[in-house]
Subunit: 340 residues, 2 copies
């Protein structure tokens, strides 16, 4: 059994005041209720001595504020790196004096409705609606009219009803191009990754890469199509090299792809960055573990979570799409172009 | 503003019954309160039509049950893989009809006290007290008397006051030894990792390895000391190979160490598993991404979280230390010993 909590009445009795007086003091209303400083001090001392804990749930029934927020996602906690968004959201919630519920729907609308309904039953003040991959979503009807910020997803439309926090993938693509251009690359730049598919991150990264290169009068020499995983990238890059591709630089659409590309380059005797430069996206742990260490454009999961809660609980502002910068982590995988 | 909620009174009026009757029906007490089936049906229909949502917070003030649990950890959400314990805990909480709060203390006792105090203010029913690394802990005083299960940590003592869920690292060490022995290894088995330090996982894994080998009359040929990270393992294994170590098998204390060992073996022209077999612990994503794929003993984060909540909300049982099995994921990095 939990230890018995001191009641407001016990505090009042110990302080020698009425229950109402104790209540007003503890709610900070001693001035408007004209309570003497002496009585106020006695109540505060009694509350401290009895370790009195105001019943927030009873209070929230009156004030309608529970100081809790809920983070509802498809599968954020499952992913090794996207999970850091939870960490960022948690830190920001605590900084604002709130506690955080989390819930996952695995993308099932029925589960989602039940979950949001359960959170509403517990009268959470506000919601973070999050996605593991950046993507367009339709906000669940149940959330209409509540305080909501979208994390890593977008509702579209010219006038958003809620803040939407996403990584700035377009500028990240531009940064990748700029990093290679600065190193002197103009020819033999190949893309590695899934380009045909309608994945937001891939599409935006690629658009940014093309814009960045085009602005310097440079074009991609080619694209090596593969899935988002090391083994697929390994096979695709090996095949491309066997087919006569002679890249001087590879832009890999994420670190896992770069991991597979490293394996294929090494097996065919190419040295990074002397023969081929490699740049990538995500800046996961992998990037620092590879040899040579991989230059990668950072996906700021923690910042995304932190900013989402900041927008939810911070000063009010007009709803907008906030694109969080993706900084370049320069390491050892980009060098001058190989002389041919 | 959130949409106005239908009240119990509105439901009762629409159904043409008293407020008490509606309340008893919705609490499932129609039988003991002798309420007619006709009245019951009208109440249920009215509740559905008005989208009535029982105020769980008001109810919990009466029943003292909020159907919420809190997971308090040092830094579980920050770690790419330990975060999966949150996912497991979440799934189990939902399966038991509970919602999950999470909170992180970063190991700071002041933050911890504040956080637990905040959860108590919201009258959570029960707590998971978790650690990122398996380690001994002292349970915070505030949790005394509450329903608590420890996740990935231990309070010690012969008669634990709470369930304690940890990975079975000792048997995992034994499994690593057995896997090499089965492949025919008896000589030139080296350990790679941090052995001197007082890290629970490392100590238990090593004890299990020694027991497993000793039972077959085999001894470790040597140990290569390094930190838990790829670069440290890479440097240490390179140095050992330069110093004349001639391993036929490496037991790496985790996958990150194995990652560095792979790099050092490859650079010095050793082929895995033809020249050197490698086995490891954790079975992180890395294990499947390496070439050849790495045989690794799985650290079941998801299971740990799932089991902890199961013990917390499932049928009551005597508090005990529950060691969750760590299965061997056999891949391609262990082969027959090289012929010398």
């Amino acid at each position: 059994m939990p230890p018995q909590r001191a009641t407001l009445l016990q505090v009042a009795q110990r302080a020698g005041v009425s229950r109402s007086t104790a209540s007003f003091v503890l709610a900070g209303r001693h001035l408007d209720m004209r309570i003497s400083e002496d009585a106020r001090q006695r109540v505060l001392r009694a509350a401290q001595e009895l370790d009195y804990r105001p019943n927030l749930m009873a209070r929230s029934l009156r004030t309608k504020v529970t100081r809790t927020i809920a983070l509802v996602s498809d599968t954020l906690a499952s992913d090794p790196y996207a999970g850091k968004a939870i960490h960022g959201a948690l830190a920001a919630a605590v900084a604002h004096g709130h506690l955080l519920f989390i819930g996952e729907t695995e993308g099932d609308p029925v589960v989602e409705e039940k979950l949001i309904s359960d959170f509403l039953d517990r009268q959470v003040d506000a919601f973070i609606y999050a996605s593991m991959f950046t993507r367009p979503v339709r906000l669940p009807k149940l959330l209409k009219g509540h305080a909501v910020v979208l994390l890593n997803c977008l509702t579209g439309g010219a006038r958003p009803a809620h803040h939407q926090i996403i990584p700035d993938e377009l500028t990240a693509g531009w940064s990748a191009a700029a990093t290679l251009l600065e190193a002197g690359h103009r020819d033999g730049i190949h893309l590695v990754g899934k380009t045909g598919e309608n994945v937001f991150a891939g599409r935006e990264r690629l658009a940014g890469i093309r814009e960045g290169l085009t602005a310097a009068g440079v074009r991609l020499a080619g694209a090596i199509d593969c899935d988002w995983w090391p083994d697929s990238a390994y096979e695709a890059v090996r095949r491309a090299l066997a087919d006569g591709f002679a890249p001087r630089a590879l832009i890999c659409l994420n670190d896992r792809i770069a991991f597979g590309a490293y394996q294929a380059l090494r097996e065919t005797g190419r040295v990074i960055p002397d023969d081929v430069s490699v740049i990538s996206f995500d800046d996961s742990d992998l990037a620092a573990w590879l040899r040579p260490q991989l230059t990668s454009i950072s996906l700021p999961h923690y910042q995304l979570g932190w900013q989402a809660v900041g927008k939810l609980l911070g000063p009010a502002s007009d709803p907008a799409v906030l694109r969080v910068p993706m900084p370049v982590r320069r390491r050892a995988s980009v060098g001058k172009p190989a002389v041919r």
